[in-house]
Point group: C2
Chain length 280, copies 2
């Protein structure tokens, strides 16, 4: 794989037994100058975890609890292998900055390229309009930032990001009225024939606007993630991914957001669920 | 709350800073003499975690990774508080037996009785037939075990467990053809006016037959859970709970099972998702 920006911005170097150094790049912040994307933080830590999981590079289930947002800059990652099994390695880790824990993770890693077993998917990829009929969300956000209408959203620039007009119109004050979000995307610097790094799916699971923004007009405040769990199911084929997110149960200020991610070949490649605090 | 069997069989005693002793009772095994129910193990550990989370007794998100099944008998629980926040306490824990880790957990605990915020639920409770028209699964299983047709399922005896005939008929060789399971239940020894201990929801999230058993005739082998995450959303009202489970994506032998649990007052009280290995 070429040294793309995602690879560079999630690279880690060994610093001792189970210890790694990484770097939070400001280019994956949700809003310019604000907290880095949670999925991006998971990807940095998962990169370090991969160094410890031997024959099991793929997080088939990875849970992250978000304790405090790190600033851009150096971070430390500590990885502890909990169990080495034949099929999975179970591992915990934390990301720290200046000695303070920012994210705590627990996951099971396997090998999706060699996994064999029953296949039966009773879900269908989302029936979005073709790519060419979708809104270029990245360009739209860039234009509105240039016009001073909105802040800059650095993580949007990392992706070539298209959404069906219906799902994107919440940003123009026209939500669908349902807790749904989604669209197509690939890394902005990906060659046409490049397949996304499986760890990129951790970012994909958390890089759309919150599905809750489509429930009601006027929502745009931060929806802090308490916990995010991603199940990787397959390495993506080259091309755009299609992702669909939904929020169906907001209770006492808590909400879940469920995601399903498909590759261009129609394979289900990831499931995600997060618990977050609803906007007030 | 009366000292019911669930309270007794999940009780822990302090054994040192962050250390607790508990006991795995054989009465919560899935099959007589086999592994204890995973949700039951989570409940034992969550009981110990509650001792460390101060004003935050409720696991709003609790993830458990299952490493090896413990035998009935004494277990040790080690709890580590990761972060004490105003709204949540984040905590990790492990359950060990004879020094070997059996379950590793990570969770965020809050206080659901004082939580306030937005409520909007775009899901409806399952439209099961009335309780009186459902199959008494507990009695049916007991009769078949007495007749020597099936092994005894100890955990079934812990619940008064009713299922719509359509969902229960997989056990008679008539699956629905879809990855779905569910029904009504309450603890077998609960007085009519008793509300279930919120930690009981951890068991409810994992105590039905796997939804995958309804996809295809002839499935009944073990579906080992790799990871189970439960979001508690509210303390249940008195009466029967209604729970619905679904499995929609079986890929390369991995499956998810999602659950939604409602109380008798129509409140959504828990969401669950697990990653498990499909029967071969």
């Amino acid at each position: 794989m070429a040294e793309d920006r995602f690879a560079r911005d999630t690279a880690v170097v060994a610093a001792g037994p189970g210890s790694y150094r990484g770097r939070v790049d400001p280019g994956w912040a949700v809003v310019d100058g604000a907290a880095p994307n949670g999925g991006y933080l998971l990807a940095i830590v998962a990169r370090a975890m991969q160094h410890e999981t031997g024959p099991h590079p793929d997080p088939v289930s990875l849970t992250g609890h978000f304790l405090r947002p790190p600033q851009p800059g150096d971070v430390d990652i500590e990885v502890e292998v909990i169990r080495r099994g034949g099929r999975h390695t179970t591992v915990s880790a934390r990301l720290l900055q200046d000695g303070a824990a920012c994210v705590h993770l627990l996951g099971a890693f396997g090998d999706l390229t060699s996994a064999e077993g029953w296949d039966r998917v009773d879900l269908a990829p989302p029936d979005y309009p073709p790519l060419a009929e979708c809104v270029d969300v990245t360009s739209a956000a860039r234009a509105r930032a240039a016009a001073g209408e909105l802040p800059r959203f650095p993580i949007q620039e990392r992706f070539d990001h298209r959404q069906p007009a219906e799902l994107a119109s919440w940003a123009l004050g026209r939500p669908t009225g349902r807790g749904e979000m989604g669209g197509y995307l690939r890394l902005a610097d990906a060659p046409d024939d490049a397949a996304m790094d499986p760890l990129g799916l951790l970012v994909v699971a958390d890089c759309f606007a919150p599905a809750v923004f489509n429930t009601t007009a006027g929502l745009s405040s931060w929806v802090p993630t308490i916990e995010l769990t991603v199940q990787l199911r397959a390495h993506p084929a080259p091309g755009y991914l299609a992702a669909a997110f939904s929020t169906r149960a907001i209770t006492r200020g808590y909400l879940e957001e469920d995601g399903v991610v498909w590759d261009a070949a129609g394979n289900l490649v990831a499931l995600s669920r997060q618990l977050a605090l609803a906007p007030r």
